[in-house]
Symmetry: C2
Subunit: 202 residues, 2 copies
């Protein structure tokens, strides 16, 4: 007894099209700044047709956020207790920076939400997110206690990785304005490797 009937091909395709359009518009203008007309136009659908697939504007936003959270936390999930500590952390930094380079809209969508107090995703922050960070912080603390990396506060280490990598997506306009249009990412990757290597092997 499936409570929800199976989706047709058209439903699968149009839901995808709408989410892609919603990502484009929400990440540019924020939740309140985005309009259903904009999203519909971007998706190539009529406004009532949007609301045939999603019950409300907020439902599109929530669907985007929750499908995003997994992708966003995957790099931290992959941090391996049994790997080489410095290499593991540097890999995490690289993976997170790659997300900023390849999925800047997702980063800005998330930033917009957190910036405004995470009204539609707040629960996940103190729940899944905190659980994961607590676990990985314990791993990092263990590495420090064993003398395999220089001692650092593991929570602020994780925050600093988030801040440094997401900055290149979220503040892209500012970064490129200062650099005069040059692509920031090659330089960023080299700089961040240098920074965390020095921090962890001091």
């Amino acid at each position: 007894m499936p409570a929800t009937p199976p989706l047709t091909r058209i439903q699968i395709k149009n839901r995808q099209v709408i989410l892609e359009a919603g990502l484009e518009v929400f990440s540019q203008h924020g939740f309140r700044g985005a309009t259903l007309d904009q999203i519909a136009s971007q998706a190539g659908l009529s406004k009532p047709n949007l609301l045939y697939y999603f019950p409300s504007k907020e439902a599109i936003h929530v669907a985007l956020l929750s499908s995003l959270l997994d992708t966003w936390l995957a790099p931290l999930q992959a941090l391996d207790d049994h790997g080489d500590p410095v290499a593991e952390i540097l890999d995490y930094v690289r993976r997170k920076l790659a997300l900023s380079r390849d999925f800047p809209r997702e980063s800005r969508l998330f930033a917009n939400e957190v910036l405004q107090g995470a009204p539609r995703i707040g629960g996940a922050l103190g729940g899944d997110l905190k659980t994961l960070v607590d676990a990985k912080a314990a791993v990092i603390r263990g590495w420090g206690a064993a003398g395999r990396i220089a001692p650092v506060d593991p929570y602020h280490l994780i925050f600093s990785i988030w801040a440094l990598t997401q900055h290149y997506a979220d503040f892209d306009v500012q970064v490129r304005a200062v650099l005069g249009g040059e692509d920031p990412f090659p330089g960023a990757e080299a700089y961040l490797e240098q920074l965390f290597r020095r921090l962890l092997t001091a």
Copy 2:
């Protein structure tokens, strides 16, 4: 012949009240998410009265942004060519972190604007901001060339200071959710000093 007549006491006070209310509301909801009714209510004034002092919603926003930019760049302005390099940079980090602690709303207002492509302040990014950063980057590059700090890309060094300090204001909700409500700032200050000291004296 003063083109603009002198301001009365009431004008000075009410303009200030409106800007304070606008800061509160804009920083929480963004430009599009904020309404004149919210700002008026927060300021304890009627909506038509708001528009007696500012010609439009956008005018309030622009007034906030431009008066903010100076405050925001002051810590970088203060970076002294003739001081001790490591101490100068660490002082810059501390001053910038203090801004995040003491003026989080200003930080979020700015973040909101840049996140959405800086539509109302874009010009200043490639202008005043770039000019200042170029000048200070040259100073830092000089310190590196003279062997007084470890060699680092000065632009990414500045970006990293912005990212790390503003993160604690802009992503406050997330940081506190992970830390379980604990005040992040004491730990952040210690961590950032450690990080930049190791980076610059490697």
